[in-house]
Structures are given as structure tokens and as C-alpha cells.
Symmetry: C2
């Protein structure tokens, strides 16, 4: 019977507080469903490590965590102490690139007990996935500055879309759509304004769609698409976008379901050539770190996504169900959701519901 080896990296701030709850729930669900998990803990990819070593990760980070079945990650970054381009690009974005995690996957689901910021929407009304390209597109490092400090000064940065990069994310998104009851895919574009890369994206979507005749698909320009997230969130099933558009939609989506505080995410290498990273969408939240009040649901839900990715669908689903039952009880929710539970109490509640 297979034992899964998980690398655990709590990282910075509330990452350190929510991860123990995530692990608690994972252990409970694993025991219940006869899944064998082995956890290796790592102290890098955080400010403390950087302070001691002058870099975010050891030189041999790839050997250390590159053979694990998955990476369970808390949060990284502490802008007051270390600039984002050092902390994020020295860990999170490095993982995405060097472990070729070309899919960023996030559920958008209105949960019980979470007040909807959208008038009249109830749990069940909003339930879709955002699939984001996670390695290229607008996040290239190609570009530069000319004529510095003069009136002619300008900067440029290239958006780069490769056929390989675009086709593989579209394939993933169409497969996901095909596996769902509604079989509906929406593509985010802006080909009426961004006149070279976005028409190419559209072209590849059209080509890929031919291979999935059972999937109904449509496309919206990103401006009206964000508007439709607010006005018609029930229209969506699977939404696919470039690195930037996916980034925007996968924060806006969770906001439309009440809070990004409970949203999970997966940075996935579908072929399994490298480990995938599962992490809550929220960051390290320096403002509330150390108080034990952070909401652990994002981390716990990310653990569920990790189990599903590993093929342990039932164990994963049992956690998502437990989250729903926990959120439905006001007293078991953390303060950000109008409850009075602290991080540990909320985590224990989910574990008990599993």
C-alpha cells in the first residue's frame, strides 16, 4: 500500500499558525480512510531562514523536496522585512517555474455560513473552478528600461505565450470541464485590445475546443468577465485564463463568495514529473500573525485538494464536507466570519467533523 511523502513548509506569519490545523485534519482524514501519509517538515522559504542564510532556500532545495509526492505550503512574504521580489520569486514562483507547475487551480464556491457579498446568492448558487496558466504569459522576465532619468525614459516587458504553454493549460481546462456535469468552459480574453497575444490565445482555444465536442465553450473579454463574476456568477463552470487574467479571476472569484480567507489553491504539475504545491490563497498576514486568530480553513481545504490530486478522492471529499459542516456553525467559525473560535478550535472542529 502506497505511502505518500509530503513536504511541509509553513513559511511566514500565519502560515505557521494554520498549517498545524491543516495537518491535524489531514491526519484524521487519512486515518479514517486508510490513507498513509508521511510528513517531512522544512524550515526554509520564510523570513527567519532568510535572516540567517541570506537566501530563501538552501542551494539543494530541489534535492530536498523535489522527490516528494506533494508540497503542503503555508504562506510566504513579509513586505516590511523583505521585498516581495526576493521572498516570492525566491520560493513560490521558483516552485511554479522549476517544478513546472503550469496549472494554478482554485475553486470558487459559496459555502454555508459565509455571508455572500452578492445580494441574494445562496450556497449552491456559485460553484466553479478557475484554471490559471502558471508559468508564462504576462509574468515573463523579458524586458528592460531605456534612457533612464530622462524625459525619453521608457520600460517594456513582454508577454510571452508559447504553443506548448497555452495548449497544455487549455487541455487541462477542457478535460476538467468535460468531467463535470455542466461541461461548460469559459475562456478569458482581451483580443479586442491586446492585439497579438490574445488573438493567439483565442486561436488555440478554438483549436482545442474541436477535440472536446461535448464541452460547450464561450469567451469573454476580461473587463466584462470580471463584471459578470459579480452580476452572473451562476453562469460559470470552468474558467480558464492566462497567468495574469487567472490571477485576477482567482482572487475576484473567492471575493464574490465572501472571503479570500478560506480559499485554497493548487499549483499543479499534472504529469507528476515534479511535486505540486498546495497552499491557501491568503498570504502571511503580518497584521494578525502571532495572535492565534487566523482562519485555518484555507490551509485545511488546500489539504483536501492535495489528497484529491494524489488520487484519494474520498478522503479529500470528507474534508470538504467537514469544512461545510463546520462553517455552518457560528461558534466554530473564526472571528473574520463572525464567530469566536480561535485557529486551533476551528481546526479541531473540522477534524472532529471529518
Amino acid at each position: 500500500k502506497k505511502q505518500y511523502r509530503i513536504a511541509v513548509i509553513p513559511g511566514d506569519g500565519i502560515g505557521k499558525e494554520v498549517m498545524p490545523e491543516g495537518l491535524r485534519v489531514l491526519e484524521t482524514a487519512a486515518k479514517k480512510h486508510g490513507v498513509s501519509l508521511h510528513f517531512d517538515h522544512f524550515d526554509f522559504s520564510c523570513w527567519d531562514y532568510y535572516e540567517k542564510h541570506g537566501q530563501m532556500m538552501p542551494d539543494d532545495w530541489k534535492e530536498k523536496i523535489g522527490k516528494h509526492d506533494a508540497i503542503y505550503f503555508g504562506a510566504v512574504g513579509w513586505p516590511a522585512k523583505i521585498p516581495d521580489h526576493v521572498s516570492l520569486w525566491g520560493s513560490l514562483i521558483k516552485f511554479r517555474r522549476e517544478f513546472d507547475q503550469y496549472v494554478n487551480l482554485r475553486p470558487v464556491r459559496l459555502m454555508p455560513g459565509v455571508p455572500s457579498p452578492l445580494a441574494g446568492r445562496k450556497p449552491g448558487d456559485i460553484d466553479f473552478w478557475v484554471v490559471r496558466e502558471n508559468t508564462e504569459g504576462e509574468y515573463s522576465s523579458v524586458g528592460g528600461r531605456m534612457f533612464p532619468e530622462t524625459d525619453r525614459e521608457f520600460v517594456t516587458q513582454q508577454t510571452v505565450m508559447t504553443r506548448v504553454g497555452v495548449d497544455r493549460i487549455l487541455k487541462f481546462a477542457f478535460e476538467l470541464a468535460q468531467s463535470r456535469p455542466k461541461k461548460h468552459l469559459t475562456s478569458a480574453t482581451k483580443s479586442n485590445g491586446i492585439s497579438i497575444t490574445m488573438p493567439y490565445w483565442d486561436e488555440r482555444v478554438e483549436a482545442m475546443a474541436k477535440k472536446y465536442p461535448s464541452v460547450k465553450w464561450d469567451k469573454y473579454h476580461i473587463d466584462i468577465l470580471t463584471a459578470n463574476f459579480v452580476l452572473h456568477p451562476d453562469w460559470f463552470d470552468v474558467v480558464v485564463g492566462s497567468n495574469l487574467f487567472g490571477d485576477i479571476l482567482s482572487d475576484l472569484g473567492p471575493a464574490c463568495t465572501g472571503t479570500i480567507g478560506i480559499a485554497p489553491s493548487g499549483n499543479i504539475n499534472p504529469e507528476g514529473n515534479f511535486p505540486s504545491v498546495f497552499e491557501p490563497v491568503h498570504g502571511s498576514a503580518p497584521d494578525i500573525a502571532g495572535q492565534g486568530i487566523a482562519n485555518p480553513i484555507g490551509a485545511i481545504w488546500s489539504g483536501a485538494m492535495m489528497l484529491e490530486h494524489l488520487g484519494e478522492k474520498e478522503a479529500g471529499k470528507s474534508i470538504v464536507d467537514a469544512i461545510e459542516r463546520t462553517l455552518a456553525e457560528r461558534t466554530l467559525r473564526t472571528r473574520d466570519l463572525g464567530g469566536n473560535a480561535d485557529t486551533t478550535a476551528c481546526g479541531k472542529a473540522v477534524a472532529e467533523m471529518v
Copy 2:
């Protein structure tokens, strides 16, 4: 006493239906406030013209409309008949570039009578401006494709930010913020992911902020900023963004206030070297064109913005007030807002309220 010369271009689809109402209201307000307006009507920049002439505009379009005090525009585009890159880039975007309309300005305001999609928000709760850079940034035409039809195929497109281009839009935004009671400016960035152009944008914001010490300013990454439009729309006063970010925010903002159907916009050359264009945010809406049911408020409100731009603040304000009073009456609203008025009835109602 100055007479303003206005070029009127109804364009396509419902543009032709809403513009007469916009003109009706403008004429009424002008008479009432002793403003003298002269209208010249043009039939180009639409599908009908393209069908006859094979181009969107006559060769001498600049001579024809380049000396007017402003351009009052309906809508352009009819994707089933003519691709966007021909219709939009052949008129709207041409105006922006060749008339150096580097400011795209749109109000985000929750109006009476328009049901808010955001739970519990009332008129008065949401009232801010989106200032968008309108000539450069992500809408460059620089880029291309290599290795077509092979596995190595890729496309690139550059984002271009010039010192002149960035500084002038920031100056406009800071001035606007300074003129408002809250004196608050929010900048849209993504410097943690888009690592060359966006840090440059941030750098120029910081430099410009020094010249406006009375303005409080902050910045958000575009992902969390879109989330905050939904969760905390009351946080904003003036929001400034690049061409793409401003485009997104100025559709999302109106959606958060219930409908993009009534939103107005200005494409402004602040120095007055060229005419500015005022147009409703909605497009030509082929699906409802010809039925006389389009909502004329976006066009009417754009007329009010035009008057304010021309320096006729009182006349402009009288129109905005009349819009508010009209929208407050269900029977005077068009169907998209739950009323039963047709386009003309709604336009007449506003004119009577002026």
C-alpha cells in the same frame, strides 16, 4: 459668448437609438443654463459606412472632426459583420491615439433605483472615479509570432510604459483626488508578479505623490483590488490604473453598482489640443438594436460629462441630478432596470427633470 461645436457620431446599433435622447437632454440643459451648443452630425465610424466605403472613416476624418470642441459618440462595432480589430481600431482606438486622449475617465456611482448586486449597499455608499491610461501600456502593437505552426511556436507582445505617458496620467489622477473632499488616491499595480513595467509604475506613483502632499494614497495589486471592489467599494475615491488594469476596473466598478448599461465615459485630452470623446460604456448591443428599448442613460450621462469637461459644470450637474430623479421612478426606467419605459420615454423624462 462662446459657442461650443460638438461633433456627433451615433455609430452602430443602439448607438443610433440612444444618441437622440442624449441630444434632447443636452439641448434642454443648454437652453436652461444659457450654454450655446452647435451640433455637427457625422455618419461614419459604423458598419453602414464601412459597407459603402470599405473603411470606417473618410481619409480626411481628422480635418472633419479634429477642430471641434468635443466629440459625442454612440457606440461602434458589430462583431457578426465586421471584426473588432477593424471596427474598434478603425475608429475608437484611433481617436484615443491620434487625438492623444490619454485619460479614460469613468464614474462608479450607485444610483437610486438601480438594484445593487452587492448586499446591503445603498446610493451614496459607492461613489468614486476610475482614471485609466488610454494610449500605451498593455495595448501596444509591438510584438509578433515565431515558428508558426510548429511545436516551437510562440507569440510575444510588449507592454510599453513611457515616463511621459505614465507621469501625465498620474498627474491627472492626483489633481482629481486633490479636488475631492476625501483626497484619496488608489493605484492599481501588480509589481509582485509583473516584474519590470509594474515596479516602474509604482516608482512614478511614489515620485508624483511627493508633489501632492495633501493626497493620501495607497496601492493594491490588481488581483486583490478587484476583490476589494466587491468587498469594500466604500474604500475608494480615485483609482488610477494602466490601460489594461483601468479597462478592467472601469467595467467591474459599474458592475458593482448594478449595471454597465448606464455608465458614461470620457476619453480626454486634458490640454485641449484635440477634441475629447464622450461615449456610453455599453457597446452597440446588436441583440437589442432596432427595438427602441435601449437604456439611454449612459449616453445622457456622457453628455453631462462632456459639459463638465467644457467647463459648464452647472449644466452638467443639472443633468446628473435629473438622471438620479428619473431613475428613482420605476415607471420612467427602461426594462433592463425593471421599468417599462422605452428609450424615448426615458430620455424625455430626464429632459423634463433637468
